[in-house]
């Protein structure tokens, strides 16, 4: 390694603006940047799809789109946001931060890193192209339940192939994280000294490696059912449609934690910095993350309480699901204990982290209610569920990603962002996210099913409110784009410490961080 380094490695890429630099880059920072911009573009596309949905739902009656297209919007919105936004954004953060946090020069497998990113634009181009195919895009929901999904037109094989690509990309990203964390830590950086972001990502990576192949198996069986005459999910041929749901959610529930665990890591980095006090209960945070990851494998059928499982199955999945509240509660309590008797300031990353704690907890509360199987019969497949998972994903995962960008942006580009604009972005986002998703609890409880393009008159007020909120939230994110571009081009120069009490190896590097993070291992206290 060191012999190569002398000849080939430079402090900066030779031609920073050439296409070749970005196509062939094996640098963890370049790839991290690509992932993050890709996620933002997908965020805008998926966001426009959400606005199509909300526009149609502004008033009762069919006004703008055909119901079939509406269904493909709900399906595609979910696929874009889950596979195209949250997962790539976290992988981008992992790329940027993990080597800097553990004192490594780069990721362990740089060429695979390049490949795992460059699969994504092709996968999503293919996914989006299905909207223009005969029969339209996939419209059976992102959960792809057969037999409905098998009614998809020409789009189906393309949808499945592009999901295979996304899975491939995630698995490679995950292998890279595991290899990096286990092999590239600086001497003295023991596992229990790693920042929680690294810990949560390590556990997330194992979840990805465990469940993405399960999804791949399930969707391949869909493909053979449709084109090769098999009957895995066709009762008439001896198969079982519900079997697909078991396979899907065996992937799908750990997937839910894949989308949230790295957020826990981000928040656990930000809160101590701005409270000027070390993280409370570091060890229990690590164990709680492990416990959540373990439980995530044995709760999948709580997504299926109404499919007609035997009583014993219902009870098992209800109890196991309720248990998740314990380690999740530990995390929230630990964050508050970290703040307790600290000396807090409220810069934008801190605001987003605090917003995360409050609103993620609200999503957690509705999650606890949903866990109660007999009551879930009323909640299941209504807007109450839509409200629940948007609370944990938007002011949960997305807020954590935004908080991470504010927190580490000065380290990435060497400039500070505008604090005033950042705070405005926070308040606009918080107000509109609640205006969008809080009323969904109401219409869901009052009986509005999800995934419908038109609704009964008693749901009209809160739908109108949600639509107004959605447009406000969408537009507020453009402010974020402006702010980030401004910071990259012309912000106040950042010090290497950036935040006065931030701890961690990344703050020992200059801002912007050098092209290769740690060429010689740093000393660990």
């Amino acid at each position: 390694m060191s012999t190569v380094a002398a000849g080939d490695h430079h402090d900066h890429p030779e031609s920073p603006y050439s296409i070749k630099r970005w196509l062939f880059t094996t640098n963890h920072k370049d790839i991290g940047t690509l992932y993050l911009w890709f996620a933002f573009i997908m965020f805008l596309i998926g966001g426009v799809m959400a606005l199509v949905i909300r526009t149609e739902l502004f008033q009762p009656g069919l006004q703008f789109v055909d119901p079939q297209f509406f269904n493909s919007m709900t399906t595609m919105h979910a696929i874009m946001m889950i596979f195209g936004v949250v997962m790539p954004a976290f992988t981008g953060l992992a790329n940027w931060l993990i080597p800097m946090m553990i004192g490594a020069p780069d990721m362990a497998l740089p060429r695979m890193n390049n490949w795992s990113f460059w699969i994504l634009p092709f996968a999503f181009a293919m996914m989006l192209s299905t909207l223009f195919m005969d029969g339209g895009g996939p419209a059976g929901g992102w959960t792809l339940y057969p037999p409905l999904t098998l009614q998809t037109g020409d789009a189906l094989p393309f949808v499945i192939l592009s999901m295979h690509f996304m899975g491939l990309s995630s698995i490679m990203g995950a292998i890279n994280v595991v290899a990096t964390v286990l092999n590239m830590r600086a001497p003295g950086m023991t596992l229990m000294k790693m920042p929680l972001f690294v810990w949560t990502w390590l556990i997330t990576a194992y979840l990805l490696i465990a469940v993405m192949p399960v999804l791949a198996g399930g969707i391949t069986m869909l493909l053979t059912d449709k084109y090769f005459g098999t009957s895995f999910f066709n009762a008439a041929g001896g198969g079982d449609p519900v079997m697909f749901q078991h396979i899907f959610w065996f992937f799908g529930h750990p997937e839910v934690y894949i989308l949230i665990l790295p957020s826990f890591g981000v928040v656990s980095s930000i809160i101590p910095t701005f409270a000027r006090k070390p993280l409370f209960g570091y060890a229990s945070m690590v164990y709680a993350t492990g416990a959540i990851a373990f439980l995530s494998f044995i709760v999948w059928a709580h997504h299926m309480f109404t499919v007609g499982m035997p009583l014993a199955g219902e009870l098992f999945f209800m109890f196991a699901t309720m248990l998740i509240a314990v380690p999740t509660g530990v995390k929230v309590f630990n964050w508050i204990a970290t703040m307790w008797r600290g000396s807090m300031t409220f810069e934008t990353p801190m605001l987003f982290a605090l917003g995360f704690i409050v609103m993620f907890s609200i999503g957690g509360f509705s999650g606890l209610m949903l866990a109660l199987a007999p009551v879930d019969f009323q909640y299941h497949d209504t807007y109450f569920v839509v409200a629940h998972f948007h609370y944990v994903l938007v002011p949960g995962s997305i807020f954590a990603i935004i908080a991470a960008v504010y927190y580490w942006l000065p380290k990435w580009c060497g400039n500070m962002y505008s604090e005033g604009l950042g705070k405005t972005h926070f308040w606009l986002s918080t107000i509109f996210v609640n205006l969008t998703f809080f009323p969904m609890h109401f219409v869901g409880l009052a009986g509005m099913p999800r995934r419908i393009p038109d609704y009964a008159l008693q749901f009209s007020d809160y739908n109108m409110m949600a639509t107004i909120g959605a447009f406000g939230f969408g537009l507020s994110q453009l402010l974020f784009l402006v702010l980030v571009i401004k910071a990259i081009r012309s912000g106040k120069k950042a010090t290497s410490q950036v935040w006065e009490d931030a701890e961690g190896l990344e703050w020992t590097l200059p801002s912007p961080a050098p092209y290769h993070s740690f060429s010689t291992p740093p000393a660990i206290k």
Binding site: L315, T345, L372, Q378, T424, F442, P449
Partner: protein, 271 residues
């Protein structure tokens, strides 16, 4: 800078007024208690879980906001240095665990009741189609389809929408009050879900499989619901309407609608 601060203050105010304003909008915002013993139990459990969450939220968020208010740098606080306490961490692991056990006991009891389909008085076989329902009264020999009655012109906004817009059907499912009605639920094509909130019955209709559910309605009336599982283009347009009537009226309705041959067929099979 000052302008932005003032803008933020206004935004906060606007948020509070929107949230409090919503309480007066007059449309339903909660689960209906329904018209069966089970639906009432479900409603009560929902409210218990809700208030439990509210209490936890108030305690946790009060601690958080007190800390945000009191432990801030601008008040000249020097930060403490504590970062663990096994006792406290054990307490806030054990207390939620105990609360969860307390919550799971009534939930288990209700679930067992919901699964008990024995001792029924009559059986209705429900079959989902894209996009309508078929009802078959197994013992009484009545069967018919039930589909959306709202006119296309209402849906396309050419005509004013009626009171039961999208929640009205041509043939309602008629059941007797006070009798235990067992539903056998299946589908002919894709997966649907038969749901009536007032009965707290929601069960998937899966092709090739038969699911069971039951209800015993306490009050006569018309109860409306919808298909709850995405089933394609017109998923939003396949409502469920149940009309619960007194026993005598039900018998008259059966007499007027029965196709005797199918009832005898069932009797022959069951002997």
């Amino acid at each position: 800078m000052f302008a932005i601060k003032r803008l933020n203050a206004w935004l906060g105010l606007a948020f509070i007024s929107v949230v409090s304003g919503s309480a007066f909008a007059g449309q339903p915002i909660n689960m209906p208690p329904g018209v069966t013993d089970i639906s009432l139990e479900v409603y009560n459990m929902h409210m218990i879980a809700f208030w439990l969450c509210v209490v936890i939220a108030v305690v946790v968020f009060s601690a958080m906001f007190y800390s945000i208010f009191a432990h801030r740098k601008s008040r000249g606080v020097t930060p403490a240095t504590f970062h663990e306490s096994t006792t406290i961490e054990a307490i806030w692991t054990i207390i939620p665990f105990v609360v969860l056990i307390a919550l799971s006991i009534p939930a288990t009891k209700t679930l067992i009741d919901m699964y008990d389909t024995s001792d029924y008085d009559l059986t209705v076989k429900i079959t989902g189609y894209q996009w309508l329902w078929h009802y078959e009264y197994v013992e009484d020999g009545v069967d018919f389809h039930s589909k959306l009655q709202t006119s296309l012109s209402q849906i396309n906004n050419d005509e004013e929408k009626g009171e039961n817009y999208l929640l009205e059907v041509d043939n309602e499912l008629v059941i007797p009050v006070g009798k235990k009605v067992r539903f056998l639920i299946t589908s002919n094509d894709v997966i649907h879900a038969w749901w009536v909130p007032d009965l707290a019955v929601k069960k998937d209709a899966v092709p090739g499989f038969i699911n069971e559910a039951w209800t015993r309605v306490n009050e006569p009336g018309i109860y409306r619901g919808q298909c709850a599982e995405l089933c394609g283009r017109h998923h939003g347009f396949m409502p469920v309407v149940v009309r619960a009537v007194p026993e005598a009226e039900y018998q008259q309705w059966v007499a007027a609608n029965a196709k005797p041959e199918s009832a005898t067929e069932y009797a022959a099979i069951s002997e």
